[in-house]
Amino acid sequence: MATSEIKIKDPGIDPATGEFRVVAPELTFRSVTDKISHIVLTPHTPLGWLAIFGIAGGGATLLLVAVTWLFLKGVGIWAITQPVAWGFAIINFVWWIGIGHAGTLISAILLLFKQSWRNSISRFAEAMTIFAVVCAGMFPLIHVGRPWLGYWLFPLPFTMNVWPQFRSPLLWDVFAVSTYATISVVFWYVGMIPDFGTFRDRSQSKMGQYIYGMLSWGWRGSVRHWMRYETASLLLAGLATPLVLSVHTVISFDFAVAVLPGWHTTIFPPYFVAGAIYSGFAMVLTLAIPLRKFYHLESMVTERHIDNMGKVMLATGFIVAYGYGMEAFMAWYSASHWEAFMFWNRMFGPMGWSYWVLITCNLAIPLTTLWSRKLRTNIPFMFFISLVVNTGMWFERFVIVVTSLYRDFLPSAWGTYRATKWDYMTFIGTLGLFTALFLLFVRFLPMIPMNEVRMLLPGAKIKPKAAVEAGN
């Protein structure tokens, strides 16, 4: 183990190159490999892991119960009603998908921008993406009235000769989300192949060697392979970037394409994406902070990472703030009574409280504090902020979905919305499922990309050509 002050403090500047270091300087190829392989290859599972996994598993069971009951009785067990025909299910869907986005952003966009600091967090950010998409993807299916007919959403040659209706944003969702899930998984898996190779070669058990051997497709580190591999990763990154932007854009279409005041807004796509990244980074922090502590990864996930993520949140937070601002401005500037009433109702109607929760959690608290580097590098505080923002972003979706629906065009059809225990169970259940999956990932898969971290190490520097010719 490295000495404590190094692992807590910022790794500082590399004297040789004058660049910021992103990982602790004392790391070597082998120490990195040992550290990360050990977490997975060690035969004994830490008690803490078991404990948390138990709790998370309980949550997942809750979900199972809730969904079973749902299938038996129908979506009526939820609070959805007339006129609020969408509720928690859609809110959770959008929220989870949003969370997923940070993962892709870190692994893809930052890769394109050559932000080498993302190397050490990219892997579990991607994992987070996938598990978030799993949780999200579940909702569109279970929230429909007749889930067993969900396959009608796919253009397949049934004997009815009836086809999906491609003008519907929901159908766009089907393709956007399925693509997003697939590409994320592929990207994630391809990234792990060389590390599986490492595991194969370091695993003591025959079982481990077999499993990781197969997962690695027999990777042997030929530079020819490496070059194609690099190209592929770069291309995947290049594809994932427009994808991640499109996915939340499409999801924002679910609302923006509708005629409903409060949904029918052109600002939605950009501010949904920004919001997604905002909440996504919050979730990365929520996960990274306990992890690095628990597995002593401070030398690889350093304060610089936390700090950078804080900055990204600050930036996206302001884009989101701009979004809210524009909504309010347009409500007034459009001179449309529908917009004006919608916004008045959103702020001061019977459900106005939810709007103010959202403002507090998304704007008031984070955007005032994240300016200070001191706070950004204050680990407990950042953990707290991450939770606040996650809450705020959930309420953003609540406000959009519910407070737009419950008082729309015809006053006679106004209604209200009060969530039932099944709504809460389902939501908590997905949290449990997410955590459980993530813990499994941490235990059995390389949570930090060894091959990418190796590139950050001083040892990876090739001595200048001259030196090589001269032979030292």
Binding site: T159, M160, N161, G213, G218
Partner: protein, 288 residues
């Protein structure tokens, strides 16, 4: 540090990849076939019936006309299943103690219905109407097949939506003169078997079923000059409008000769006022 995997494993790995792909494809094809298979549609299956009633015997053998039993086919959405009375009408005299007919006699005696099993069973949310089809030139055989050749009743067709649409999107290819509706043996006109039709003027309020009159024997037997009146050539027959014919020859009906189904079909579509495919394939036509 030695090999983990045996030499063969490479070939094995690749093979398994290919296989996975093949399995997926195979599964898709299977399901696609399955949804159309008789196992699902019951096409061609002969369910157990209380009495092994033979349409072949009654229709072909005895020459009973469909409506003798299915009385309401022209009037109502239901064609109608005959009451026991209909059977007894004859079987009070003939086969009076045939073992096969015991259930019929029981029913007649006890007043309990004969319980048949539906052979042509549409889903409950499909609203099919016999009368409109029969009145607009769809023959029984078009959907039910050569019932006169079925010793035991079975569904000739799948009755699945794609099958219905198949005709609703192009009725012409199945239309026949209403006079031929109950003719099991009707075949589309051909050069060897032409059909001659004349139509009442469209504005005359006669029901569609009677608006066209067709014959299978050449009505213009009166020699060349009469035949010469038969204008224009059969090839362009379907282009002639009814009012034109009526205008030219008020007294003597002008027959047009048809030697192919599509000519006849188009002609009947026009005179039976068959609605457009867009209308016929609109959802509310069958679902309410």
């Amino acid at each position: 540090m030695a090999q983990i995997f045996d030499r063969s494993s490479n070939a094995l790995a690749r093979a398994s990849l290919v296989l996975t792909g093949l399995i997926v494809i195979a599964l898709g094809v299977t399901l696609d076939q399955l949804q159309r298979s008789p196992w699902v549609t019951r096409q061609g299956q002969r369910p157990d019936q209380p009495v092994p009633f033979s349409h072949k015997h009654h229709v072909q053998g005895l020459g009973l006309q469909c409506q003798y039993c299915h009385v309401t086919v022209e009037k109502s959405s239901y064609a109608g299943i005959p009451p026991t009375k209909t059977c007894i009408n004859c079987h009070a005299q003939i086969w009076t103690n045939a073992q096969l007919l015991q259930p019929v006699r029981d029913s007649w005696a006890t007043g309990q219905s004969l319980v048949w099993t539906k052979v042509h069973d549409l889903p409950d949310y499909v609203y099919f109407n016999h009368s409109i089809h029969v009145n607009k030139g769809i023959g029984c055989a078009s959907c039910h097949g050569r019932v006169d050749q079925m010793p035991l009743m079975y569904a000739q067709n799948t009755l699945q939506m794609e099958w219905c649409l198949n005709c609703h999107r192009n009725p012409a290819k199945n239309l026949r003169p209403t006079s031929q509706i109950y003719n099991m043996a009707w075949e589309a006109p051909s050069d060897s078997r032409p059909v001659w039709c004349n139509a009442a003027p469209s504005e005359s309020g006669v029901p569609t079923a009677q608006s066209v009159n067709c014959v299978t024997k050449d009505p213009t037997t009166a020699g060349p000059q009469m035949a010469s009146l038969e204008l224009p050539s059969a090839g362009a027959a379907h282009l002639v409008t009814a009012d034109m014919t009526s205008a030219t020859m008020p007294a003597m009906p002008v027959y047009q000769k048809f030697t192919s189904q599509e000519q006849l079909g188009l002609y009947l579509v026009k005179h039976y006022k068959i609605r457009t495919p867009r209308e016929l394939s609109s959802c509310e036509v069958c679902h309410r």
